[in-house]
Amino acid sequence: MAAFLLSFSYVFLSLILLKMPMSKLKPFSSDFDPLRHESPSVDKVGVEERVARIQTRSIKNESKIQGLKMVLNMIDLTTLEGKDTPGKVKQMCYKAMHLHDAHPGLPTTAAVCVYPSMVSVAKEAVKGSDVKIASVSTAFPSGQAPMSVKLDDTRFAVDCGADEIDMVISRGKFLSGEYQFVFDEIAAIKEACGKARLKVILETGELVTLDNVRKASDIAIHAGADFIKTSTGKVQPAATMQVTYTMLMAIKDHFDRTGVMIGMKPAGGISTAKAALHYLVMVKETLGDAWLSNEWFRFGASSLANDVLMQIIKMETGVYQSSDYFSID
């Protein structure tokens, strides 16, 4: 009964909210109380079975080529290493714009993802193209820094020209139940982002259970995330289909209630074209066609691009390819 009332009030509230201008809708819905909000519990076995079934879909060749090109266009080509140099970043930006010049007609990647110190270099390098610059921030990857540092980190990246900010949540606080802290932090970073779109990294590898993943997704969505993202790529396991499915369901529930679309970005560990296609199938079957563009779905990856390129060339020539003939990334 309580659940019914709750969902009823959601519908009611969303009706009111929908009448308000978009700017008021965001950054967060004022009715959300991170401490009292009860996220639905996640049926782990059910998720695993659903995911397993999604992985058995057969995709015909023409759709596959189209899907692979879509994957390329959804990639956030990423380098987040201590050893990154301006040269490395420039090289990666070039790759983002020229995935495989030997084969005309390929899209660019959606964005390149770098540390804040590399944003201005990257911004300059992609000038004149559609490739966006995403910057990690908030003391990536651990997020263990005072709020002031996190805000400065974010503002610095935005000032340097970042179009998108990938922030990490405070997992320690989340796991010790300080949901309000996590919520407020995301809301504050969202404000610091200005026009830049905010991706909130949950670092699901540290959240232990799917129930926690769902809870963190709900908090991030309500606090103003434009995207929710699985992982930093620095913690194993990174993106898995189970975790992504759980997050997609959070997005779906939010959309059903409010009509507001939230983006999804699995990151880390997706390195094969086959896996990427499974993710596309999952997005299509949970959220629908509206999410099948880089406006709403991204892959955080570095080595995925080459595998997808090799598959595309293989599909067109019938010959299995070798990484020897593709650029090093």
């Binding site: 010959v319 299995y320 390819q321 070798s322 990484s323 020897d324 003939y325």
Partner: protein, 293 residues
């Protein structure tokens, strides 16, 4: 009470695992009297692709291993073969060999393994050289493994034909994908079991079974394969392999040897899958008036 015999499922060998073919297909082989003696995986081109990926992944580590360690591992293969001698004799006889010939074949396979184990840390010295040049340089040529090798094993032998091609390839630091004899495939999978218990890193040798007519193409035109080795005398097959090799200029080696002969083993089978790298290194004149040595 009579008991039901437990029959072995002959599966393929990829990346240190024994999967069934991803295609789910199989074919049957028969002995001389028409009795079915095994259901064999009818591998597909995707199995070949998986095998090539495994071989590529294993290549760096295998090529960089010390020569002596490769030698130890090959010797270990011989030890494991010796332990399974009776099983191989039995299998060879099921496939139509006489007892004498079966014993001869397995004994030669074991001895040949020891032979190539011995070569592992010696072929570099014999195949490499310091070259005389008329300038103040050391100029030396060293051999390096070619890379991933696809091997189409001899059709007329179950064990020795295949082993005689795998050994020189891996002794020289290559990794390989092997297509076993289509009509005599039993020993190939038992040999894979030997490899799997011999400290040989996963992926160095991968063995698939199936139809030549179907698998020569993916084994011959895969861009990540650096050389193709063929044993046999079928002119059409050789022509096809040479054509498929063109795209990435694979090395193609074809042999038409009697592998059961003691003579069918030598240094040049190792050399066939080596690339020569020549390096110039500046020095001062040795022994000259201005020498600092």
């Amino acid at each position: 009470m009579s008991r039901l015999e437990v029959l072995k499922t002959y599966k393929i060998y990829i990346g240190g695992q024994f999967p069934r073919t991803e295609s789910g297909r199989y074919y049957q082989i028969q002995d001389g009297k028409g009795k079915v003696i095994g259901n064999i995986c009818l591998s597909s081109k995707k199995d070949v692709r998986n095998a090539v990926s495994a071989a590529r992944k294993a290549f760096g580590g295998w090529a960089e291993r010390s020569a002596f360690n490769r030698s130890q591992i090959l010797y270990r293969i011989a030890e494991m073969l010796e332990g399974r001698r009776d099983q191989f004799i039995n299998e060879l006889m099921i496939q139509g060999a006489s007892k004498v010939n079966a014993e001869k074949e397995i004994d030669l396979a074991i001895d040949r393994t020891v032979y190539y184990a011995g070569w592992c840390d010696k072929y570099q010295q014999l195949l490499s050289s310091v070259n005389p040049v008329s300038s103040a340089h050391f100029n030396f040529s060293v051999v390096e493994p070619t890379g991933v090798v696809s091997i189409i094993a001899d059709e007329n032998s179950s064990l020795i034909g295949m082993v005689s091609l795998i050994l020189p390839a891996i002794a020289g630091g290559n990794t390989c994908v092997v297509l076993a004899s289509e009509t005599l495939p039993l020993c190939s999978i038992t040999f894979a079991e030997v490899l799997n218990t011999s400290d040989l890193p996963a992926g160095v040798v991968n063995i698939v079974t199936g139809k030549k007519a179907e698998l020569i193409e993916p084994m011959g035109n895969h861009m990540d394969v650096n050389a193709t080795v063929y044993s046999g005398s079928n002119a059409d097959e050789i022509k096809k392999i040479k054509e498929l090799a063109v795209q990435n200029v694979k090395r193609v080696k074809t042999y038409n040897k009697k592998w059961i002969s003691d003579e069918s083993q030598d240094l040049y089978l190792i050399a066939d899958l080596q690339e020569v790298k020549t390096t110039w290194h500046p020095i001062e004149n040795i022994g000259g008036a201005t020498s600092s040595y």
